[in-house]
Symmetry: C2
Subunit: 183 residues, 2 copies
DNA sequence: ACGGTTTATGCAACTAGTTGCACAAGGTGA
DNA sequence: TCACCTTGTGCAACTAGTTGCATAAACCGT
């Protein structure tokens, strides 16, 4: 339900082709709304058919040819409507927590290694976010757009901070546990 | 990919019928792996067909009759295998962050009310978790199972704490913003 | 000038999750 | 006693997301 709106947002920030969008999703929007290139192309087709975006002229739409899109007024209106509409938070699904709970009944064998790996991944992500913060949000700038985008980035930073801390605590706990566990 | 394992975990904790599972998902496991009753019934069917669980005897399987399941050795083995297997974290998707980012381009109109509503929801959830912590994990108990389950609950508490704090900061930021925004 | 890699677009089939509804049994009040 | 509500099980259709592959142009070295 939100992919089209993620794409509209990205296109408003800058008109792009499918592949450019894919890359931008990998770098920024994708941090909280990931999408594969196939999803993106499919959705671009739908959005165009619905009259919310259109292909920029100047290139004929041939295979292996770049095709860029821009947002039409109807698309901007739809995005504004969606942004303002009240929405319930979707329940999260987290495999790692589920595995921990499963480990309480079938034993913790093998889990510790993966906790360590997750910790590394989250540390790396955190470092990346902090780099972005330093680069894009130096102190002193406070336009509305910057403020909002910075807020989103802060959410990312704080979430990764939470995970690294929680994983460290989990690993410390594991160290004290009798290993193996009953089966 | 994880629903069957969530169900196996729940059934190992206590053999149950479909509806009982549904209720328990709403209360505990569902906090990090939600599922509707239809999903659960379908999955119970598959798990039974695969020989990982079986219906407890003593009730004939008629419509509108309770039918309880228990985990078979093959099911326990599968759960242990899955728990130990290394898995990559799935990227999160968060609509609220996406909407904030969209608001940076189409304006913040209408968003603040919903931020406030989300804050309330997260505060309520946090209170619920803290109640569970006090009830189920009084200081002093430290069996392995308790330790692990407490760790999972701590993740829930810390996550909700993060959200409430982040939302308060966001609302404070909003208060300073020129409202309305360009279109 | 031709074979391989990169860039770019896209289809088809599959898996997981959601929504809406149907059906049966048992209890409850009028 | 019969209409209605609750409890419990389940099917079918739909939506969203994933995986695997096909195609085509352009660029690049030899």
């Amino acid at each position: 339900m939100s992919l089209p709106h993620a794409i509209l947002t990205a296109l408003l920030e800058k008109p792009s082709s499918g592949l450019e969008l894919t890359r931008r999703f990998d770098r920024s929007i994708g941090y909280f709304w990931s999408a594969t290139h196939q999803q993106i192309y499919r959705e671009l087709g739908k959005l165009e058919a619905d009259g919310l975006i259109r292909a920029l002229p100047s290139q004929q739409p041939a295979r292996g040819q770049k095709k860029s899109y821009e947002v039409l007024p109807a698309g901007r209106a739809e995005l504004a409507r969606w942004t303002a509409a009240s929405q319930d938070p979707k329940p999260h699904r987290d495999t790692l927590l589920l595995r921990l709970r499963a480990a309480a009944v079938v034993g913790t064998a093998g889990l510790e290694t993966d906790l360590r790996r997750h910790l590394e991944l989250h540390e790396r992500q955190l470092a990346e976010y902090e780099e972005i913060e330093q680069r894009d949000f130096p102190p002193g700038r406070d336009g509305t757009e910057d403020r909002l985008r910075h807020l989103v980035l802060r959410a990312g930073i704080d979430l990764e901070t939470f995970w690294t801390q929680w994983l460290r605590r989990a690993l410390a706990d594991f160290a004290e546990l009798p290993d193996g566990e009953p089966t």
